[in-house]
């Protein structure tokens, strides 16, 4: 029984069958990659996990509980954090405040009215956030405005915000999209480090084979809305069906 169990999920947009009969099981403490050519339905599938879309058929169970119909913030409180394709951070706030918000969300839940406490006096939260920034090597930037950082640092910050919540499952939506090779390698290193240090479960949606093969324990190949194969990286490499799917796209 995996931490994330996807059964018979289907989703249709008008005339387009974006997903059909998707079955997937993400095991705890593994890195599971979902790859596939453009338009294979990767992002649609991810959106079904986080509450942005509700599939027409099938079920998505997280930790034995259905996430269907729940709001994004409820799903997050269950333990799923998400990294976006383009980093979504609080650009008007400084780096430390960005991470502190995650810590507050973890401690106080979806809503708590605390209008008269002072942020600076919440020593536990400040320490926790600072520790997180030390872990990702950003502590020297803690007073910097988030908007003024490089793209790579924004990605790193977003990752730190997700990790500060100590999620049971971290979803990454093309974490290296649009990055230069050097940045991509940095991100891979960061993810590897996180994986070793925190022993976290990760699901990565990715286009870049290099990233996938450096990180994943298991890989699911998606094509035209259905899983083609699911196997270890070694077996996926050179799998005829996978080649066909990708070459088909290239031609």
């Amino acid at each position: 029984m995996g931490i994330l169990e996807v059964k018979n999920v289907g989703k249709r947009f008008g005339g387009l069958q974006a997903l059909s009969d998707v079955n997937l099981s993400v095991q705890e403490h593994t890195v599971h990659a979902i790859i596939g050519p453009n338009g294979a339905g990767k992002s649609t599938l991810l959106n079904c996990f986080v509450g942005k879309l509700i599939p027409d058929t099938g079920s998505v169970m997280f930790n034995g509980q259905s996430v269907l119909g729940l709001k994004p913030h409820q799903i997050n409180q269950m333990g799923i954090s998400r990294v976006f394709q383009t980093p979504e951070i609080f650009s008007d706030l400084n780096v430390l405040e960005n991470v502190m918000i995650s810590c507050f969300a973890k401690r106080d839940g979806a809503f708590r009215l605390h209008p008269f406490e002072t942020v600076a006096h919440e020593v536990d939260i400040v320490e926790e956030a600072e520790q997180m920034l030390i872990d990702v090597n950003m502590i020297d930037k803690r007073h910097m405005n988030a908007a003024s950082m490089s793209r790579g640092d924004k990605r790193r910050l977003e990752m730190a915000m997700c990790l500060a919540q100590k999620p049971k499952l971290l979803l990454l939506d093309e974490p290296t999209a649009g990055m230069a090779r050097a940045d991509t390698n940095n991100t891979i290193d960061l993810l590897k480090e996180i994986n070793e240090k925190l022993d976290i479960t990760m699901a990565i949606i990715e286009h870049d084979m290099h990233v996938v093969f450096s990180l994943a324990d298991r890989i699911t190949v998606l094509a035209q809305g259905t899983p083609l194969v699911e196997d270890t990286p070694e077996n996926i490499k050179g799998h005829p069906k996978v080649k066909e799917a990708y070459l088909g796209e290239a031609a």
Binding site: V50, K71, P72, H73, N76, Q77, S81, R82, F84, E88, I89, F90, S91, D92, L93, N94, E97, M100, I101, S102, F104, A105, K106, D108, G109, A110, F111, R112, L113, H114, P115, F116, E117, T118, V119, A120, H121, E122, H143, M144, N145, S148, M161, Q165
Partner: protein, 400 residues
């Protein structure tokens, strides 16, 4: 020195605000009463009361607009509700302002809860239009079917046959705070100067300081942090496990209560309440104050409110005679030309100046007067330290 749970910097800041507020009757009276410059004095009780009251209104509006970015065009409704509540308490109980103000805050909170609950289901311009629609409904109803409650166009006021059950033999016959009558003042003549210390002003000023302190605490609280995060990126907040709706609703209700209190204080100074206070132009005015001063900053709304009310007073007083006095030294043709041009901006045309000012601020200085001040200060600092601004940039983004 730290006090009241504030950092050292904030404590100093609060103390300055307190000092300025309490000394306003002196500070705004810089010119001797007999001098020609006395027309620029602003130490009049009713003007100072307006400073404080609109300051409260703007501080509250800033908690919503400045922190969350939700632009309400309907806050005048709460202002009106507050005024009506206070006058009703005069009519039923007597002229003590306390029951009325309490009722004003409660009723406006209820209104804000209802309007906010519905309006906050949408964001952006839809939110603005929903709040506008609610406020216009309140305004229209106050003029028509709700006449028994609002006394329609005449406005709600106290009549001699009203119950006023708590009125004793010796109770004051105008608004008072446990016997301290609002419209009484002490006058102090020193040399050519004349200073007026008005009970009503000090009453509103002390409340203003109190609510300013509250807003300072809100700005520095985790709640305030969440509100600023809402303005920046709601998507991220949702995917961080935060339900944004109750936060925005809380901000909306708090700012509605501030507006209700401000409306109540208006009726505490002058025992009248009219529907025109609910008109959407009144909502526009508070938006203006906050933008002009600097939305999202602590000092901005107060500066904006003071600025607008001061110049409203000065500009509307300037008439032909005054203008002739100013330009008398010029040749006749030029004098008349300048007076003609000035006409557009002074006297009854004060709103024109206001509109222009508003446009200029939005175009050139979106951060308002506070940002303007900071820019000037930064320019000075740069010149001093030889262009080393790395430190200023690394400042925490917390608003001043």
């Amino acid at each position: 020195m730290k006090m009241l749970g504030l950092s050292k910097k904030d404590t100093t800041f609060l103390l300055i605000v307190i000092a300025l507020t309490l000394l306003t009757p002196i500070l705004l009276q810089p010119f001797p009463a007999s001098s020609t410059l006395a027309q620029f004095n602003a130490g009049y009780p009713d003007l100072m009361q307006r400073f404080a009251i609109f300051g409260i209104f703007a501080i509250g509006f800033n908690i919503l607009f400045g922190l969350t970015g939700y632009l309400s065009f309907g806050h005048a409704a709460f202002l009106g509700v507050g005024s009506y509540s206070v006058v009703w308490m005069y009519k039923l109980l007597g002229y003590n302002v306390v029951p009325g103000l309490i009722l004003a805050i409660i009723v406006s909170a209820l209104f804000a809860l209802l309007i906010g609950f519905v309006s906050l289901r949408r964001s952006g311009i839809y939110f603005s239009i929903l709040t506008l629609a609610f406020a216009q409904m309140c305004y229209n109803l106050a003029y028509s079917v709700l006449t028994p409650l609002t006394n329609g166009e005449t406005g709600l006021q106290v009549y001699t046959n009203d119950a006023q059950v708590l009125m004793g033999e010796n109770s004051p016959t105008s608004p008072h705070f446990f016997g301290i009558v609002m419209n009484e003042s002490a006058t102090w003549n020193v040399g050519g100067w004349q200073f007026v210390f008005n009970n009503g002003y000090y009453f509103t000023a002390i409340i203003a300081i109190l609510v300013f302190y509250l807003s300072l605490r809100i700005f520095r609280s985790p709640f305030g942090l969440m509100l600023r995060a809402i303005k920046t990126n709601q998507t991220r907040l949702n995917y961080t496990g935060i339900n944004t709706r109750p936060y925005t609703l809380a901000a909306f209700v708090i700012s509605g209560m501030y507006a209700g209190l401000a409306g109540g204080l208006m009726a505490s100074m002058d025992p009248l309440a009219g529907a025109e206070r609910m008109q959407w132009t009144a909502s526009g005015e508070v938006v203006l104050m906050v933008i002009l001063g600097g939305a999202g900053t602590l000092m901005g709304p107060i500066l904006g409110a003071g600025f607008i009310k001061y110049f409203e007073n000065i500009f509307s007083k300037i008439n032909d005679q005054v203008l002739h006095g100013w330009f008398a030294f010029l040749p006749d043709g030029l004098e008349n030309f300048l007076i003609g041009v000035s006409h557009f901006f002074v006297g009854k045309s004060w709103h024109l100046t206001l509109g222009l000012l508003f446009m200029l601020v939005v175009i050139f200085l979106p951060g308002g007067l506070v940002e303007g001040g900071q820019r000037i200060a930064n320019a000075f600092r740069k010149r001093k330290s030889g262009g080393d601004d790395a430190e200023t940039e690394a400042q925490p983004s917390a608003a001043e």
